[in-house]
Symmetry: D2
């Protein structure tokens, strides 16, 4: 029996970069959170503390800032590709890189004035192994609610069942969606806007018999309309809204007054994919 | 020497109420967080544990839900007034009530579909002492940024100074503003929309020599335009954006690449008021 | 009618200072979060943006770090006093200072090794107006629970009451306590340890007919035993633990299985003081 | 080309269970957060909204509470095993279950009084596929710091390097460790206590040339001493403590005054395993 080093990675997480493009008015603002992870020939640093193959996380952070100046930030996906390729191609011991990016959106208030939108965050994860780059785009904290057109009936009942079937409930969730692109080339901003709209339209337009059905409809809608996407992964918590029993006060409650609960919550996770999707490689690292 | 009971209050905090108005299409959605505090003749419960003067916080929660059904939620201010008056007027031992409300806004996606906006939250604090009601409206987490037209020069320098003066910096803040109304009657939604716009316009339109100057301009703008408001209190953290030194990499940085810092942060707080404002009473409780 | 500047203050919030005392083994570790607020002759900066009376928040941060080196950190109270006095005494336009400190405790694992404790945080607020300094010590996030010896009966019942009286419930809370000292001199660490113990002992030892009764008992216990303390302010959320109804599954539940709820929660706040306490001055700023 | 359902799961997340064992004095307290995920023959619910194979997440929650009454909570691992086996063995369409548990520790203050410890959280993940159960124990938020005996030298330097090598720095991290057991039988509490101690001892006792080296030493220490453990996975953020430059104030800083930074942070993740470890199966689901 021996003890061995298994999978490992390291990098700088949550580098907060704000980039102002000032070439003429109006300014444009990019607000990112960038996390880098690198893997490769890193046995020595684990076994003996020899840092000869370690590109410091501090240097990774510097590179994020320098690249923003040198190349600008065309999109999270494009910026991630630049960084991932740089780390692997410039450092022999580094064999693979993953760059995760969050983009916080701001609304324009004036030529150099902005309001941060809050709510949903655009995401991207880019990986590169020295030959192949993969791109996964995404969105998180997209909070959606249908106040009707949702039911939940016909489920399993066992000795621990107390839930009553309902034919009219609130369906609310905070969507985290990630979608894998067929290739590492694309009109990233255009694709993002289209996919995001499709996800929302499918949530709004689906009469829901279960949150799983809604989830699948959202993924299917994207894949049907967007040939550049080959796989969609969704995580959708069921943000329960419980109808308050007002009968002790002599009041009815015709689906009008709800308690919005924090915990516990249902969590529905699923994948919708093309049956001929290319191999994922490092995409979901 | 004796030991005595001083100021005290109790209540139910953070009752999460979602109200769906379903009379015909489209539905409208109200999403609130309601916190009640009551004061009055409460010495006995502290000194001996006699609960005879205690309206349980559980009952307060029930009242929030029942009132939403009985009266609807016309606005956070109006709903708060109903609740505050109810608790004092219906319970002899309760002499004063404070109701704090947060309202989370949702954008319409369809006749019964919504997306939560995230970001800024509308607030209200209503107090009532058995005869006088006060209303303070507000907004919090309103994150604003000017990418230029901000300087900071001419400050005190002492033996602990390292900051260099700058004539062009990013000015970013998360505004918390609360404004006191002259009376407990009003077009609450109309007033809120107007005040919020004035705050934003003043932030955007002020060439800033300091965040304090911007703060005062925001309060002054509201008071000048809105006769129903008599006092504005603002808390504005300075969300520092530090220009990254790229010179070690042979790069300049003409106000383009910034590090958005978390902590520490400057915190600027101030009050702007009419010199003939009526007495505040319980307004800032 | 005119528009005027009212109460205002500014300062650097949340300066994170870690100090290692290395004089010989073992090392000792101090881990603080320091927030400064200053007030004074600050009309000009608000009205015209003239920063001539503004000691930058960046300088305040530098001062925190420099003072840690120059004076060490004997206790949060002593360190706050040094800082508060410095800002007012060294800058003519600054007339008052408030320094708030949080101290995160670490347990020793070895001569230079430590584990952060998590949970409760020691706090202090020091103010100084050029002549008088006040000291308020405190603790926050002290989470306590009694699994019996708590009842809640005899409360007001009205048309919105559904809560049943109970003679045996879990009583749980996260104590935030702040206590004002008679003077600005003291054995700060000794006093803190003693007061904290008294608070816990009173919570543990009181058969509770209401959380208010427990709160008062805690304050009274401190004032009775510690002559250096003149006023205690407590905020104690009622962290509800609801007995789960297991009867649908053919099971009883003899106060054994509980759901720990997040929101809403009761919030009990109160003050216990000596009737001959000196004037508070700026203590509760 | 077709569109297909891929990997999916659903369940109730974050059921908060507090269990009081009251058989005689003293009481003992168990405070858990339980998250269930189920997978199986769930195509229909995704494709058509047919819930016939869906055990509602509400029922899962009920089961957690009922099992606590029926079986007690001997340990997080044992309780997770009971639940995971129940869901799969009792429901034909459910083919696999994962139960994640967090346990919050409380210190005893009296026979029925407790203080929540804060800080580190004990965790467990149990999976079951109808025939094999796997158990992964863990700890998270274990914050450790060495104030010396840490260096970082000899790393790669490139055009984006500014970091200076250092032979004496603070090494601080918040350990998340998970370790896989060889079998689903064990003295869970005894094993947990032993592994946790070994992790801490290795952190404390290792002169660190890199955080990776410390990480590997921690995993190796566990595997060497504990035959029941076959694989250890560690995630250790580098909580940077930056030495403050006090030279502008005429002060030196002999590794005494530090700024504790929030973001960005290094993140080191790695696996240490036996070379003859049995196949992991669902262990890391």
């Amino acid at each position: 029996m021996g003890i061995v080093l298994g999978a490992n990675q390291y990098g700088k997480a949550e580098t907060r970069l704000v980039h102002v493009a000032r070439a003429g008015e109006p300014h444009t603002l990019t607000d990112l959170n960038v996390s880098v992870a690198l893997a490769g020939d890193l046995a020595d640093v684990h076994l003996s503390g020899d840092n000869g193959h370690v590109l410091p996380t501090d240097t990774q952070k510097n590179t994020v800032y320098a690249f923003a100046r040198q190349h600008g930030v065309a999109s999270v996906e494009a910026f991630g590709l630049l960084l991932a390729r740089h780390f692997v191609d410039s450092q022999e011991p580094i064999h693979a890189a993953r760059v995760r990016l969050e983009s916080y959106s701001w609304s324009r208030l004036g030529p150099h004035s902005f309001q941060r939108d809050g709510g949903e965050v655009r995401t991207a994860t880019v990986t590169y192994d020295g030959s192949t780059a993969t791109v996964v785009s995404g969105v998180t904290d997209l909070v959606l609610l249908n106040s009707t057109d949702s039911e939940f009936v016909g489920f399993i009942e066992d000795g621990y069942t107390t839930l009553a079937p309902t034919t009219d409930r609130i369906l609310a969730t905070a969507v985290t969606a990630r979608w894998r692109h067929a290739t590492a080339d694309g009109d990233w901003d255009g694709s993002y806007a289209a996919v995001r709209s499709l996800l929302v339209e499918a949530f709004v337009g689906t009469y829901s018999r279960s949150l799983q059905q809604t989830l699948y409809a959202m993924g299917e809608r994207v894949l049907t309309a967007r040939p550049e996407v080959v796989e969609v992964r969704l995580a959708m918590p069921n943000r329960h809204h419980f109808l308050v029993d007002l009968s002790p006060f002599g009041l009815d409650n015709p689906n009008e007054v709800y308690f919005a609960a924090d915990r516990p919550y249902g969590l529905i996770e699923g994948t919708v994919a093309r049956d001929d999707a290319p191999a994922a490689g490092l995409a979901w690292w």
